[in-house]
Amino acid sequence: MYKYDNYDQAMVDARVEEFRDQARRRLEGKLTEDQFKPLRLMNGLYLQLHAYMLRVAVPYGTLNGEQMHALADIADKYDRGYGHFTTRQNIQYNWIKLEDAGDILADLAKVEMHAIQTSGNCIRNISSDHFAGAAADELVDPRPYAEILRQWSSFHPEFSYLPRKFKIAVIASDTDRAAMRLHDIGIQIVRNEAGEIGAAFYVGGGMGRTPMVAPCIHDFVPLDQLVTYSEACLRVYNRYGRRDNKYKARIKILVHELGKEEYARQVEEEFAHMLEQGIEPPLAELERIKTYFADPAFKTDLPTEADRSDPEFALWMDRNTHPHKQAGYVSAVISLKPVGGIPGDASAEQMHLMAELAKEYSFDECRVMHTQNIVLPHVEIGRLHELWSKLEAAGLGTPNLDQIDDIIACPGLDYCSLANARSIPVAQKISKRFAETGKGDELGQLKLKISGCINACGHHHAGHIGILGVDRKGVENYQLLLGGSEAEDCSLGKITGPGFDEDGIVDAVEKATDVYLANREGSERFLDTYRRIGMDPFKEALYG
């Protein structure tokens, strides 16, 4: 993985001291909250329902064991013994004291981490495929491209005050595991007919109050123009994005209002101008960055089958592992979704264990998934049972990747000051309901996502089943959506009708799955059946 050079480390260290001074001045009364708020947000420090919340960037979700240990130590030393992995592959701490924030950032900097640009109207953490560098189906490892964009976008002075926040995802396989088309810019590394590698640009996607699937505005940008084209996309947005209305300020609104063709035309015009400016880093820099992402020393001639005589292990292996490009290995998913648990939460003890397991089984590497689980990307198939046994013992062996209880849920009204309703209790009740009835096992892949407000941090628009919590005259109410997908078959869910109370939404989800089971043909997923039979049978079951 990428290692900081002296410039990286010096910049991050300087930012720590800068923020330490800003926090001191705030505590001494030399800065008002109005003056301090944008400064703390630039360093990922929010004020949430119960305390300050610190969001730490995990670039493209990649961590080594030392970093995971450091995150655990922060949870223990400065928070309340746990952290929350987010839908943008980051981690959040919910109980931070302002007076500790400088020390926390210093601890992060020691392991080449920070919280810079995890808030504010800037380019946020670049996300990517959690199986990058490991997946059997990828064209190339997308992380070097994500890294060069991370370097370009970090502290970029022109893009520090965009009309709104800006999120970029980079993938390199036809299977989209990063919700690429629901980002402000989604980049897919592709090969053209001439066999050259380049980048397809999808611009103007997003969730939130106005969800949109990003259209492709350029199907092949050469790699030696990747940064320049990205900058052209941002420049047009920065110039014409709606700064007068927060709710219309994201790039998706600009692309929608201009139209894909006109936005693309303006980007091409800016791109042509910028090519003359020579801002693109030389390809040698990309090659240098690639060396940090070289394959680890995979063994050869390893067994490609595991002993599946233990049925619980076999189930976990079937559900929670992903095919690897190297024979004899798989990527193993550690579920942070135990039955009735809080999606994405991990205790300091569990984080320490995952760090140790990464060192022992996965070349000292782990990944944060946007679905709020953790991946050990390179595990020998012959050692899987041993790994699973350790996970089981720690409550981390739930076999539910992409099952109905592998629920994405935002922190909701239990933690978030923007939320209108609680998300986590709904996730817990659904998880318990399907575990108790045993129906979960019949359903196959079913992605369920819950947001506690219209901002959609829980990706409810993109759930096969989505749930949106709203405030109805001071009472929590939950709308049900069907038919969303964040994958390569990207689509936005549609609301079924009137909302439900907390228990009612759990019943509604069960009824929707009953409709699916009654109508499923062959190996159809819930989403496939919904797309074939449409909304009416579901409405009939829910409201008829």
Binding site: E33, H50, P425, G474
Partner: protein
């Protein structure tokens, strides 16, 4: 009744105006009537509270103070999904008060 709440500047902890100081316990909150703006301006300037605001609340039959909106009741007690981290970890039934 109108009560005042905010976060402690240093720790971020949720606090409630008790007439003299800022308390961690909502049951200490007092009715400030129409003096909210005056008190909040003074207390913010003195850095004794951060992000403060006035809310509607009612007084229960037993004398307890109940914020009108669920968001402030969650703030008053703590996350409903982690009873161990609330102000009343030994009283899981306290969560019923929030909902």
């Amino acid at each position: 009744m109108k009560i005042l709440t905010g976060n402690d500047l240093k720790t971020g902890a949720v606090v409630w105006w008790d007439g003299q100081n800022w308390s961690l316990h909502v049951e200490d909150a007092v009715d400030v009537g129409d003096r909210a703006e005056e008190i909040l301006g003074r207390e913010e300037a003195a850095r004794r509270v951060n992000a403060s605001y006035a809310i509607d609340a009612t007084r229960d039959e037993d004398g307890g103070v109940r914020p009108a909106h669920i968001k402030d009741r969650v703030r008053a007690l703590g996350p409903t999904v982690r009873p161990d981290l609330t102000l009343k970890p030994a009283e899981p039934e306290a969560l019923n008060w929030v909902i």
